[in-house]
Amino acid sequence: AQSVTQPDIHITVSEGASLELRCNYSYGATPYLFWYVQSPGQGLQLLLKYFSGDTLVQGIKGFEAEFKRSQSSFNLRKPSVHWSDAAEYFCAVGAAGQAGTALIFGKGTTLSVSS
C-alpha cells in the first residue's frame, strides 16, 4: 500500500539549534517527494520537492532534504531553527503525470521552537 510515515508527532527544538524531521514512504512507482509547511490557520506552502537528479535538494527558508532510495526516506533538515519556523510540517509522495493519482500526505509533525 502507498503510504507516508512521519514518525515524530511533535518535536521541540531550541532556537538556533539544528532540526531534522523524518519521513519514510512506501510507493510502488518512482516517487516524487515533497515537504509542505502549514502555519496556524493557513494553507500549505511548498518548502521543497524532489523529482530526480541530485538527491540533496534545497528549498525555501533555509530548508533542505535528502532523498535516500535505499532507506525509502526523505528527511527534512535545517541547520539553525528560527522561532518563525514553528508550524506543522507535512511530507508527501506521488507519481507525476499519472491520471487518477494525487499526493499522499503523512500525518504531519508539529514543530515547536523554544527560546
Partner: protein, 113 residues
C-alpha cells in the same frame, strides 16, 4: 492577487443543512483538488478534476458532490451535513495531473453543530 481562493473561510451550520464551498484559481492550472483535513490534521484527497473532468473520486459519502464549471473553478456541495463532516477543506491546483506541485488555498473551516 490570491492564486487559489476559497470561500467562505469559516462556515458554522446545523446538522442536516446543505452547504457549498467555492474555489477559484487564477494560475491557469489544468487540475484542481479537494482535500479534507481532520481534527488530527490528517490530509486526505477527496476529489480531483482535470479540465472539468472528474479523475479522482475517493471513498467519500455521496452527500459530497463536486462540480467544476470550468477549469478555473471547483466547488464542493455537501448535503445533509453530519457532525463528522466538521473539518478544514482545502482546495488546491496543479499544472497537470498526477504528482505535481500543489498550490493550496487557505482552507474553509466547516463546523457542524
Amino acid at each position: 492577487d490570491t492564486a487559489v481562493s476559497q470561500t467562505p473561510k469559516y462556515l458554522v451550520t446545523q446538522m442536516g443543512n446543505d452547504k457549498s464551498i467555492k474555489c477559484e484559481q487564477n494560475l491557469g492550472h489544468d487540475t484542481m483538488y479537494w482535500y479534507k483535513q481532520d481534527s488530527k490534521k490528517f490530509l486526505k484527497i477527496m476529489f480531483s478534476y482535470n479540465n472539468k473532468e472528474l479523475i479522482i473520486n475517493e471513498t467519500v459519502p455521496n452527500r459530497f458532490s463536486p462540480k467544476s464549471p470550468d477549469k478555473a473553478h471547483l466547488n464542493l456541495h455537501i448535503n445533509s451535513l453530519e457532525l463528522g463532516d466538521s473539518a478544514v477543506y482545502f482546495c488546491a491546483s496543479s499544472p497537470t495531473i498526477g504528482a505535481n506541485v500543489l498550490t493550496f488555498g487557505a482552507g474553509s473551516r466547516l463546523t457542524v453543530l
